[in-house]
C-alpha cells in the first residue's frame, strides 16, 4: 500500500489533535499543541506540501505554544482578587 505513510501521519495528527483539545490544563495543552504542530508538519510533508510543512513547523511548534505559555504566566501571576464588590465603573 503506497499510501500507508500518509495514513499513519493522518492518524498521528488526529490523535495529537484530540489530545490537545481534551487536555484541560493550558500549560499541558501548550505542550500537546506543539506536538500537534510537529505531527501536522510531518503529515504535510507526507502529503507533498513542503511549503506548508515549513510554516506549520515554525507556527505550530514555536509561536503558538510560546504565546499560550506566556499568557498563562501573565494570567496566573495576578493574584485572584475575589472581591467583585467594588463597582466596575471605569472599565477600559
Amino acid at each position: 500500500m503506497t499510501e500507508l505513510p500518509v495514513l499513519l501521519g493522518l492518524l498521528l495528527a488526529t490523535t495529537a489533535g484530540t489530545a490537545a483539545a481534551l487536555t484541560r490544563d493550558p500549560v499541558h495543552q501548550a505542550l500537546v499543541l506543539s506536538v500537534l504542530g510537529l505531527a501536522l508538519a510531518l503529515l504535510f510533508t507526507l502529503l507533498q506540501a513542503p511549503d506548508v510543512a515549513l510554516s506549520q513547523l515554525a507556527v505550530g511548534t514555536v509561536l503558538t505554544p510560546l504565546m499560550v505559555l506566556l499568557s498563562v504566566r501573565k494570567v496566573r501571576r495576578r493574584p485572584r482578587e475575589d472581591s467583585p464588590a467594588d463597582g466596575r465603573g471605569g472599565k477600559r
Partner: protein, 247 residues
C-alpha cells in the same frame, strides 16, 4: 442555560454537523485522485511565468491580490494585539533580573543563532525556487532572534530588538507590497500584475515580481512575529499591577 441543556444543544449541533460532513465528504473528489483542474492550470501558468515553486507563484503572482488581503489581516491582528496589550495606567514596569544561563546552553544558542538567521534569509530569498518564501522564512528569522533570550537573557534581547523599529518594518513591508502592486498600474497593466522581466527559469532572479513580493512579505511576517512575541514577553515578564490602585 444550565450545563446539561448546554451539553445537549452541543451534542445535537455536533451530530448534525457530523451528518452534513459525511454527506458532503462522500461527494468530494476521491482522495488521491488525479483530477485537479485548478492545480493543472496553476502549474501551467507558473511555468509560463518562469517560477519553479508553483506555490509561490500562486501566492505572489496568480493570486497576489488575495495575498494582499491576507497580509492586511496579519497587519490588523498585530495592530490589535499591540493596542490591547499596551501598558495600562495601573501597571508599572519592573526590569527583569539578569539570568544565569548554563554555559553549554549559551554556547549552543549563540552558535545556532546566526545559522538560523541565515537559513531564514535563505528561505525568503529562494521562495520562488524551492519550498519556502516570505511567510515561512520570516517566521524562521523571527524565531532566530529569540534564541538570544535563550542564550543570554531578556535584557539582551530587549537591547538588540527595539520594538518600534520592528513595528515600523512591519508597516514598511505592508506598504512595499502595495507600492509593488502599483508598479503594475504605472506599467500600463492592472494592479499587482507581474510586469517585471521574468528572467531565466530556475535562477534566483526569476519569476518577475514574485521575489520582490516575497521579500516584502518576509519583512512583514518577521517583524510581525517579533512585535507579537515582544508584547507577550513584556506582559509576562515586565509589567506588574500597581499595588493599591486596582480598579
Amino acid at each position: 442555560m444550565n450545563k446539561t441543556v448546554r451539553l445537549w444543544v452541543l451534542g445535537v449541533g455536533c451530530a448534525g454537523v457530523a451528518l452534513l460532513f459525511v454527506g458532503a465528504f462522500r461527494r468530494l473528489p476521491e482522495f488521491g485522485g488525479s483530477h485537479h483542474p485548478y492545480g493543472a492550470r496553476a502549474v501551467a501558468a507558473a511555468l509560463h511565468r518562469h517560477t519553479a515553486n508553483v506555490v509561490s507563484s500562486v501566492n505572489f503572482d496568480q493570486r497576489s491580490f488575495d495575498t494582499l488581503g491576507e497580509q492586511a489581516i496579519l497587519f490588523g491582528a498585530v495592530l490589535g494585539t499591540v493596542v490591547v496589550l499596551r501598558q495600562a495606567r495601573d501597571e508599572r514596569r519592573v526590569p527583569p533580573e539578569p539570568a544565569v544561563v548554563a554555559p553549554t546552553v549559551r554556547r549552543y544558542a549563540l552558535v545556532s543563532l546566526p545559522l538560523t538567521l541565515l537559513v531564514g534569509l535563505y528561505v525568503v530569498a529562494h521562495g520562488q525556487l524551492s519550498p519556502g518564501g516570505g511567510f515561512q522564512g520570516g517566521l524562521v528569522v523571527a524565531t532566530a532572534l529569540h534564541l538570544l533570550y535563550v542564550a543570554v537573557d531578556y535584557r539582551a534581547l530587549e537591547r538588540l530588538r527595539p520594538v518600534p523599529v520592528f513595528a515600523l518594518a512591519d508597516a514598511f513591508g505592508d506598504v512595499a507590497y502595495l507600492l509593488l502592486g502599483l508598479a503594475g498600474l504605472f506599467a500600463g497593466a492592472s494592479f499587482l500584475a507581474n510586469v517585471l522581466p521574468l528572467g531565466t527559469f530556475n535562477t534566483l532572479a526569476s519569476g518577475g515580481l514574485v521575489p520582490l513580493l516575497n521579500a516584502a512579505i518576509g519583512i512583514e511576517v518577521a517583524s510581525a512575529a517579533v512585535v507579537l512575541l515582544a508584547q507577550f514577553l513584556d506582559q509576562a515578564l515586565e509589567l506588574v499591577p500597581r499595588e493599591g490602585e486596582h480598579r
